[in-house]
């Protein structure tokens, strides 16, 4: 009985285990897993919940593996955005609905943010990606790692004055990179 069933499944083109998609997910995990898990952990404040979020994110990545593997946009930005969406959706699902329907001025509806030109993670990551390595590194140190110019100078091995001017020019470069996308330039 089992044999017959198997034969039928085999001849009717049963979906093979999607080795391709799995390989993609494996590579994505190796490359981005730690960033993703750290981010999910901060958002959820809970290690187990964070792992759930990462898993769900990767499953979605697998479903969108074609779009993800075309190399045209930041995979990491996509993953971080999806993880954040999942956390938000779960938080929203947990909340009591009636009290949340009323619009709160502190949480304006998305259309407004959208048209207001708030850019998303992928766009900014793409923008940072277009910068020179020196510009990107200085912004990572002084902004994302919150270092002072003196601290960044030590980490980067350049004079503090260089960190200051580089920060200025890096921001300008980022502004023009983002300007193409979100119309920042006035």
């Amino acid at each position: 009985m089992g044999g017959a069933a198997r034969a039928e499944r085999g001849s009717s083109g049963r979906q093979l285990p999607p080795a391709q998609g799995e390989e993609l997910i494996r590579q994505i995990y190796v490359e981005h897993g730690r960033a993703l898990l750290a981010y999910a952990t901060r958002l959820t404040g809970d290690a187990a919940a964070a792992e759930d979020v990462v898993q769900e994110t990767l499953v979605r990545a697998w479903k969108h593996s074609e779009a993800l593997s075309d190399g045209s946009r930041s995979v990491r930005g996509w993953l971080l955005t999806v993880a954040r969406n999942i956390v938000t959706d779960r938080a929203r699902a947990r909340r009591a609905r009636p009290t949340e329907v009323a619009e709160n001025p502190a949480t304006p509806p998305m259309e407004r943010d959208h048209s207001d030109g708030v850019v998303d993670t992928m766009v900014v990551l793409d923008g940072l990606e277009t910068l020179s390595a020196e510009h990107r590194r200085v912004l990572i140190e002084v902004y994302y790692r919150g270092r002072t110019t003196a601290e960044a100078a030590e980490v980067l091995g350049v004079p503090a004055g260089t960190v200051k001017s580089r920060t200025y020019y890096a921001l300008r470069a980022l502004r023009s990179a983002l300007g193409d996308v979100v119309g920042v330039t006035r």
Binding site: A19, G21, D120
Partner: protein, 302 residues
Amino acid sequence: MSEMQCRELVGAYAVGALEPPEAARLADHLLTCNRCRHELDEAEDTAAFMAAVPPEAFIDEPADPNDPLLLRTLHAIRLEAAAPPQVSRPAQASPAQPAAGPQLRAVRGEGGAPGGAGPDNGFPGWSGQRARSHRRRPRAGSASQQRRHLAFAGAAAAAVLVLAGGVLLGTSLAGDDDSGTTRTAPIAQQTVEPTGPPSNAVGPASAGLRGSDPATGAELEVAVSASDNFLTLDLEGTNLPAGQDVEIYAAPSVGNEVLVATLKVNAAGVLDDSKTVKMALADLVSISVRAAGETLVTAKRP
């Protein structure tokens, strides 16, 4: 302090990285210099956009491919793949498509990440926890200030940004060429080019092994996918001794067989599991299922 000197400080000032004495001197200058104030406005606007990217985006150490989290995830993916197709969506077909090696574009952090920022480092400077600018802004209600406020408001704003992000994401994934700018060709086009997969070294590789044993009636089908230095075996066996523990062995072309796992056959005599083994795909010759030292079935390459 000359205007040019001040100009170059504006960036560091905007992200709150200046040491207090220097920040104070620049603040004095800003009182009297419109052009530098304008520069600062622009720098702060740009810095506000950076808040859309979490600091964790710059963690660059690779994760361990043997993490239980990844193995669980792959299992979940297999379950989804095995489930009957629901709503037909284009992405559903992609895993089975013979694509070239995934062409991920890494987001570079810093080159050598000395010491590295581990996931638990906490990123004290993350804008969610600390105001980024030295300047208190007295003007209220301007559009740019509101945008800045949204971007800086930490967790609450993150939720808001998600919504916008979701919209952008949805549209950008829906089409291949929606961005309007010329980018890398979609993978479907790249695969038809005769140049072959670009990254054979790390590209995916897979094989299917199957076999049956006339004596025991058992059948075994193994889908093998290879990564850097290990194989994932998707095992499907039937007509195996129900409820018994069986051992899975992988035989390499050279050297001794490797015990992959001991698994329990279910009550229907079916084995359906996935295991990894450290072996190169080219070396793998066969997979055997054994119980009490007796081989029940062996799957070989076709």
